[in-house]
């Protein structure tokens, strides 16, 4: 599933979208408007399309959303509300939050998994993160900005949607039953299945890579595995892990001593910690005496933490890391997360097996 909205939702790989909905938008005149989104996990076996309608019937500020299923069939929905605000927006968010609490009283099995809010500026920023020029959407209202994000969930690039808004056609080059509204164009084609992509293949590839990475992360060299290395390769491994040349030289030509040196490595960050769990970690690491197969660059946060940050914050982090302001502003959100996140690298190379 693609889209800036899905980057905010805690969905597992192979989750799929089953519906997209919009509702009548109230006219708030010239009052500034805030958006509030809720990711809701439904009760086991509940029909997400019906429950969206049910919940929406109790939420007078709701304007649209998407429904879906997790890889295990768990139904979920994301519903977005718009309400007028005065000042900081807190009043509008509180109104919409209380409305959601009230509505969910009529579905006790459902619960809120994630909440996110946008001001107009923040929504525009989200669009910029997806490669849209802010000038191209300067006449869009909040509702249109929300609809654009929903349309992006239907596997259509946001830049294409923005471009199509001018002529009110999302697919000018394609033969289709044009509804003369860029958002309805996208939703209509999605419902008919025209915009589906073969996610099974993508997810398999991603899952295979994720599984391989996780396997690598969990993998640790045992002493027996280290002893299968040749001496030069084991010295290279020791250098990669971070041992000093004099430490490696002190082991001479003894493969066992080199292996023992490597096995003395543990998480240095926890060495001086007073936390009980850190001490326990150190003890267990020493007790098992293995070496991690994957190391993460120190001082950089994992990508899952970066995904929780707003794009504007990511851009500031990029500039602080040495990017130019122009590069940081031009970069899409995904690129920022990938570049700023802690890279992982598998250390060592597999020993050559000699079948003699």
């Amino acid at each position: 599933m693609m889209g800036a909205l899905f980057e905010l939702l805690p969905l597992e790989p192979r989750s799929r979208m089953t519906g997209v909905f919009t509702a009548r938008v109230a006219d708030f005149g010239n009052h500034p408007v805030h958006a509030l989104g809720h990711m809701i996990w439904l009760g086991e076996g509940q029909d997400p399309d019906l429950e969206w309608d049910f919940l929406g019937s109790h939420l007078l500020f709701h304007v649209g959303g998407v429904t879906g299923m997790g890889p295990d069939g768990s139904p979920w929905m994301c519903i977005i509300q718009l309400a007028p605000t005065a000042g900081s927006g807190d009043g509008a968010v509180e109104i919409m939050s209380e409305a959601m609490d009230r509505a969910l009283e009529f579905n006790p099995a459902a619960w809120v998994g994630e909440t996110f809010a946008w001001s107009m500026d923040e929504l525009i920023e989200t669009y910029e993160g997806q490669g849209v020029d802010a000038d191209d959407i300067d006449d869009w209202g909040m509702a249109e900005l929300v609809f654009g994000l929903l349309a992006e969930c239907c596997n259509v690039e946001l830049t294409q949607i923005v471009a199509g808004r001018v002529a009110q056609c999302a697919f000018p080059g394609d033969e289709h039953e044009c509804t003369h509204d860029v958002f309805t164009d996208v939703f209509s084609r999605w419902v008919t299945g025209d915009l589906m992509i073969d996610e099974s293949t993508l997810d398999d590839d991603e899952d295979d890579a994720d599984e391989a990475e996780e396997e690598d992360e969990d993998g640790r060299f045992t002493r027996e595995e280290l002893l299968e290395y040749t001496l030069p390769d084991l010295r290279d491994l020791a250098r990669e892990v971070g041992f000093k040349p004099w430490q490696i030289a002190a082991c001479g030509d003894d493969l066992g001593e080199l292996a023992d040196l490597l096995l003395s490595v543990y998480e240095p960050d926890y060495e001086d910690s007073d936390d009980d769990w850190a001490q326990q970690f150190v003890e267990e690491a020493n007790a098992h005496r293995t070496v991690r197969k994957v190391v993460r660059a120190p001082g950089r946060p994992p990508k899952r933490q970066l995904k929780k940050l707003k794009t504007s914050r990511l851009r500031l982090m990029a500039v602080a890391a040495g990017w130019t302001v122009d590069d940081a502003e031009a970069a899409k959100r995904k690129k920022l997360i990938k570049a700023l996140g802690a890279p992982k690298r598998r250390i060592g190379k597999p020993p050559e097996r000699n079948f003699v």
């Binding site: 076996g45 509940q46 029909d47 019906l50 309608d53 049910f54 099995a109």
Partner: protein, 161 residues
Amino acid sequence: MATQGTVRLAGYGGAALFLRCVVVPAGVETAGQEPIEVVFDITLHSPDCESNYYLRDADPGFMAAFAEFCLAAASAETPEVSVTAMSDRSSGLEVSVVSSEPTRVGLLVRIPRELDASPIEWDAMDFETSRAALAQASLDARALLGEDAWSVSTEPPTEWN
């Protein structure tokens, strides 16, 4: 999903029927047999109105009958023709199928405001729901009865035909 002894049958437009099991001391007529009995809070809910009928007696097998009705309504091709309305004498609750589409079923739910009134004044609500929601309500009702969902027969009892 059955939550806290409640079966919820939701519908489009924000309508819902809630059946909540409530354990109370046994009535005089059952004293000496069982010390407690199960009665029901019945709620007809819509976004602009909610009617609650508390501690209504129900016929023996009420929840099983509701489960059977829901399953039949969900699975029959034309339930408005083939599925007999569910009618519970003790609580007064009546649920019938009034229309159907491939994925939706229209229901009429009605309950007397007062059981002993004459003439009876009915509180009624008609709404559409999905066949999936009906099937799930059947499973939820079965779960309240302690029955394994997988053991439920997909064939409606002959008296519904």
